[in-house]
């Protein structure tokens, strides 16, 4: 298939909307890493900046939706072009949610820095954040390169994030049982871990959109899941 439209402005419109998604992706990647960093370094200032920056992500999502609606109305895209516009709208929504989770992490960091640290937790959360950020980076690369294989790889990697979350869940439970004074901090840390786990799900959804964009079909097989905390919740 030829890459270029006969009407050149059509290409410019499609490129512009995809550039917005990439810009959003960059901001969200940074937000994940900075939120984790602010927690590890107990850096309130950085946490505050992460919260403030989320506004830009929200604005970009709004613009993506407006541009997508305009493109649908004016160009009536079909086939691959249609799938591009549809996937852009969904990916925009996923990125916006991931941004919200990062913002919530930063918000809880603001509370956590007032308390004594829980040993080892910040490092584990940072590793989990880095895993999700790497997945997001690959999902966005897969999008740009229209690489369904890489997207499938990202999709499978979500299981590792689930496993990290399970491990943290048990660890926090142990800390809370050991000393009830840890409960407030551990509850916040647990929500942070859960948020990162949810980020992984949104990244997975982005990867699935890439597969849809490239192949025209959503993956049918059930994605492997390792978050079993809801199924076999340990009883205290």
């Amino acid at each position: 298939m030829n890459d270029r439209h006969i009407v050149k402005s059509y290409d410019r419109d499609l490129e512009a909307i995809q550039a917005l998604i990439m810009k959003m992706g960059g901001l969200v990647e940074a937000a994940i890493l900075e939120a984790a960093q602010s927690l590890e370094n107990r850096d309130e200032e950085l946490a505050e900046r992460v919260r403030a920056n989320d506004r830009a992500v929200d604005d970009l999502e709004q613009r993506v939706n407006e541009e997508a609606a305009r493109l649908l109305a004016l160009r009536q895209p079909s086939a691959g072009d249609l799938r591009t516009v549809l996937s852009v709208m969904k990916i925009g929504a996923n990125l916006e949610r991931i941004g919200d989770y990062a913002k919530n992490m930063a918000k809880r960091t603001g509370v956590l820095v007032q308390m004594s640290p829980i040993e080892g937790s910040a490092g584990a959360i940072r590793r989990m954040s880095m895993a999700v950020e790497a997945m997001l980076k690959d999902a966005l690369d897969a999008y740009i390169q229209r690489d369904a294989e890489l997207a499938q790889d990202v999709r499978l990697r979500d299981m590792e994030v689930d496993q990290m979350y399970n491990a943290l869940f048990r660890e926090f439970l142990t800390f809370m049982m050991e000393d009830p004074r840890n409960i407030t901090a551990c509850m916040h840390l647990h929500f942070i871990a859960k948020n990162i786990e949810r980020m992984g799900d949104h990244v997975t959804s982005i990867a699935e959109q890439v597969i849809y964009l490239v192949t025209g079909e959503l993956p049918e097989d059930e994605r492997p899941k390792a978050d079993r905390t809801a199924i076999d919740a340990p009883r205290a």
Binding site: R4, H5, V7, Y10, S78, R83, G216, E217
Partner: protein, 265 residues
């Protein structure tokens, strides 16, 4: 999700009305249609799309032997209507065209009254014995052409005095007056404004309940709006034939994708 194989078979399949096998068409030395196999279903709108000169109109005209009138045109292969070879010596092309009606790009009413335009076909095919019967046929056809209310008080006025959109609907009424089984439409809306186009498209959708409709159109959006099956022709080949939704969201052939998305193919 539905799995739609390249052959275009979908869950809902009507009976095959016209089956074409290995159809080749030559204009002198020019090979205009190359080994086309296609099954046109009953009670379905099938759209033929493709760039100018791709053979879609040529193929459409094979379906009621309109190409017979062109001396240098040679049709090979099998085209069967309800299983019967339409190029068999026993077939009378005039009778065939009563069964397989045609509507053209430009509205072409006869220079006669609105009534006579519609009554002409039924008369030569001896479909009415009395004037009352003929009146009934004319009214039914004009109603089916969605133009009865606009012309019922002036049936004796010339058909050429109607607006373009009305003339086209009159031509559709004329085509359905002989009770055809298949209706071929060659760019029926290209000379019409958007409102008349919408009226004709609505009419096509209604006609689908009784007929098999085959439409050639240059408007991709129109093909997407009115048809259930779409065939993409390119350089005389039938590149892809499938369910319209699949063709416009996930075409299997890169040439189809290039064409429908407006890229240089």
């Amino acid at each position: 999700m539905y799995d739609t194989p390249a052959s275009g078979k979908t869950a809902v399949t009507n009976e095959v009305k016209i089956a074409a096998r290995k159809v080749n068409v030559f204009y002198g030395d020019t090979h205009a249609i190359k080994d086309v196999d296609v099954e046109i279903e009953d009670k379905t709108v099938t759209a033929f799309i493709g760039p100018s000169g791709c053979g879609k109109s040529t193929f459409l005209r094979c379906l009621n032997r309109m190409n017979d009138t062109i001396d240098i045109c040679r049709v090979e292969g099998l085209i069967a209507l309800d299983g019967e070879d339409i190029y068999a010596p026993s077939i009378d092309p005039v009778q065939l065209r009563a069964k397989v009606g045609m509507v053209f790009q430009k509205p072409n009413p006869f220079p006669k009254s609105i009534y006579e335009n519609v009554a002409y076909g039924p008369k030569i095919h001896g479909m009415a014995r009395t004037r009352a019967e003929l009146d009934e046929i004319v009214e039914r056809a004009l109603r089916r052409g969605a133009i009865w209310d606009e012309v019922k008080d002036r049936l004796q006025e010339p058909g050429t005095g109607l607006s373009g959109g009305q003339q086209q609907r009159l031509c559709i009424a004329r085509a359905v007056a002989t009770e055809p089984e298949v209706l071929l439409m060659d760019e029926p809306c290209s000379a019409l404004d958007p409102i008349a186009t919408a009226q004709v498209e609505e009419l096509i959708d209604e006609l689908r309940e009784q007929y098999s409709v085959v439409i050639v159109t240059h408007s991709m959006q129109q093909a997407a709006r009115v048809s259930q099956k779409t065939a993409f022709f390119h350089l005389g080949n039938l590149v892809e034939f499938g369910e319209t939704g699949q063709i416009f969201t996930n075409p299997h052939d890169p040439r189809t994708e290039s064409y429908i998305t407006g890229r240089i193919g």
